[in-house]
Amino acid sequence: MRPVPGPAPIEVLLVEDNVDDAALTVRALEQAKLRNRVHLAVTGVEALAILRREGRHAGASRPDLILLDLDLPAKDGREVLAEIKADDELRDIPVVVVTGSHAPADVVQAYRQHANAYVTKPIDTKEFLEAVNSIEQFWLQIVRLP
């Protein structure tokens, strides 16, 4: 099949260790109006290696948008967020926290560390897909990304 002409796809980095949540998110984004490519990192260390193009990630493209879970193995999402937003090369990439945590302390800390938005994961599958669709609609269709 010939490649579809048009603008370059939007690169999304999904940082998520839960296989089911990752699969649902990828499925919702595949059905999005705007062409996008999802790259999955399952730990915080892997996310930063992709962002910094370290090791086998030397050829990784720079994401236009990051969806970041907070509770991650091998470096917590809170630390990943702090590192991204303290890095002059990375800090302008919008980071949407997508997490199971409803804790007010997590919410305020994430915004103070310059998370661009904080979304809690609904447990219900249909609501989860709706939340991902809303993220897609706002960030891929309405927002001007850097």
């Binding site: 919008p94 915004y111 938005a117 904080y118 979304v119 609609q137 309405i142 001007r144």
Partner: protein, 146 residues
């Protein structure tokens, strides 16, 4: 979703009365209860946020919609002051402007804008954009209410 309870307080910083009126109309029909406060210039916006003078009794906004080209104090300066103020920086700031300049987009994200949205000239499109902001930030996002 926040349909009952305490309404969400929104500060709109906008010097164009027509755009302010349209934004108010679009938000009036929102699913989520909200109170819209309008500041017509950058100095008034910061006085509101710092509860100075006649603004001593105003509520702390949960969300700020900020135009860039403002009289007295520019939106870029207002953004920078908000994001450097420990009492204010957790409040999401959505830039809502006619500027499509790449330089404004890049600078706004560097100054920690939470999202950058351009105002469409077409009335129907403008309302659609405000509704998208409303849907994402009032229905999907978890705001930091402290």
């Amino acid at each position: 979703m926040n349909t009952g309870g305490v309404p969400i307080e929104i500060l709109l910083v906008e010097d164009n009365p027509g755009d302010a009126r349209l934004t108010r109309e679009a938000l009036r029909d929102a699913k989520v209860r909200n109170n819209l406060h309008v500041a017509a210039d950058g100095v008034e916006a910061l006085a509101f946020l710092r509860r100075q003078g006649t603004h001593a009794a105003v509520p702390m906004p949960d969300l700020i919609l900020l135009d860039l080209n403002l009289p007295k104090k520019d939106g870029r300066e207002v953004l920078e002051e908000i994001k450097q103020d420990d009492r204010l920086r957790h409040i999401p700031v959505v830039i809502l402007t006619t500027s499509q300049a790449e330089r404004d987009i890049a600078e706004s994200y560097r100054l920690r804008a939470n999202a950058y949205v351009t105002k469409p000239v077409d009335l129907e499109q403008f309302l659609k954009v405000v509704q998208s902001i409303e849907h994402f930030w009032l229905e999907i996002v978890k705001l930091s209410r402290i």
